[in-house]
């Protein structure tokens, strides 16, 4: 029982170590915002050059 309790606590400790940092959350948010911006950008018409 004690071993199981120690293992449970160790799992939490490991979770804290791998839990996202605030910088990671910021990067994820920025990436999501960029992806959403690209998704709503107007697609070029057929035959139109997609870039200059």
């Amino acid at each position: 029982m004690v071993i199981a309790a120690l293992a449970t606590f160790a799992t939490l400790l490991a979770a804290w170590l791998v839990a996202p940092s605030s910088e990671q959350r910021d990067r994820d948010r920025a990436r999501a915002a960029l992806a959403s911006e690209l998704a709503v950008a107007p697609r070029p018409a057929v035959g139109e050059r997609s870039s200059v």
Partner: protein
Amino acid sequence: MPTAINAGDTAWILMSSALVMLMTPGLALFYGGLVRRKNVLSTIMHSFFILGLVSVTWVLWGYSLAFGPDAGGGLIGRLDWLGLEGVTGEPSPTYAPTIPHLAFMAFQMMFAIITPALISGSFAERKRFKAFVLFAVAWSTLVYAPIAHWVWSPDGWLYGLGVLDFAGGTVVHLSSGVAALMAALFIGRRTGLIEPATEPHDVPMTVLGAGLLWFGWFGFNAGSALAANGVAATAFVTTNTAAAMAAITWVTISWLHRGTPSVLGAAIGAVAGLVAITPAAGFVTPAASILIGAGVAIGCYGASQLRLRSRIDDALDVFAVHGVGGAFGALATGIFATVAVNAAGRDGLLAGAPSQVVIQLVAIGVVALYSATVTAGILFVVNLIVPIRVPHAEEEAGLDLAQHGEVAYQP
């Protein structure tokens, strides 16, 4: 030692454990009011999370390391009581023979919880939550548990030397105060200190926190008699008297020095008085507690003024109040202690035993040195795993939003 459960003693220690538990949320409010409004949640969280964290580590290994059978030399306990194996509802033949061993364990757990929470105030407003969690686990294990063993275990080497620490002047306050100083030095000064908003954002919150601390301290000190008896009553009275005297002395000093009787000064002064009487509570007379309260208010007020003139940003003056107050109280115990108050104690300087002062000074020096050294090591290692200080932009934005994704007050 013969053991038999006494209902009155058991009820008092369980009640005292609950009183001491309330001190940690009280500390959260005390500290929470002192910081800027953008950091109040993170400051509260540092205390409140530790209530959960150390409760678990104490049951798993902390209690065994602090109070378990000695591993050798009076330095640390063995892991015989890992996960509280063998700690039952029967009294311990070693500790408090009239209450269940589990009640003694629970009472000590509340002390172990509040001690690392005290440190959190020194590097408030700029530390990363994840790093603080790792720091608290390590500090509680490597600093608190050994010192508690040295001073409070009958096998502890400082106990054997004859040191008097009724409820934790060295174990709780000096150790955390010195650790707080190390943390402030390690992490560096906060940015934006010249802003007017550096002032406490909610003084009523701080005064409420101080009131809860004062209330809970009756359990902290009078409960440390580990019985419902005359020593508990003495500790209750000396605790209240020292807090009261320190509060009114601090207000008087700040009135003369700064021109106004500060409300914040009354709250901080009361806490300083409570800190100083902690090691002495069950060993000194009520009259001595008046002198201790007055003395610590002068000492801690002076320390806080010196800190303001220094480059050290101990944000909430943890060293000035707990480090200086704890050392002052430990020394005062060596001066004022008398067996006329507590036959299980020892006489101090004024009762004809100057050697007690020397013993107290040894304990102060060793505990301060050990806490400083090991705390510095822990900070260094934790910083390698997780940077302790948040990025500048997060500090500017405030830790509530940056670290916890929440805000205390809606615009």
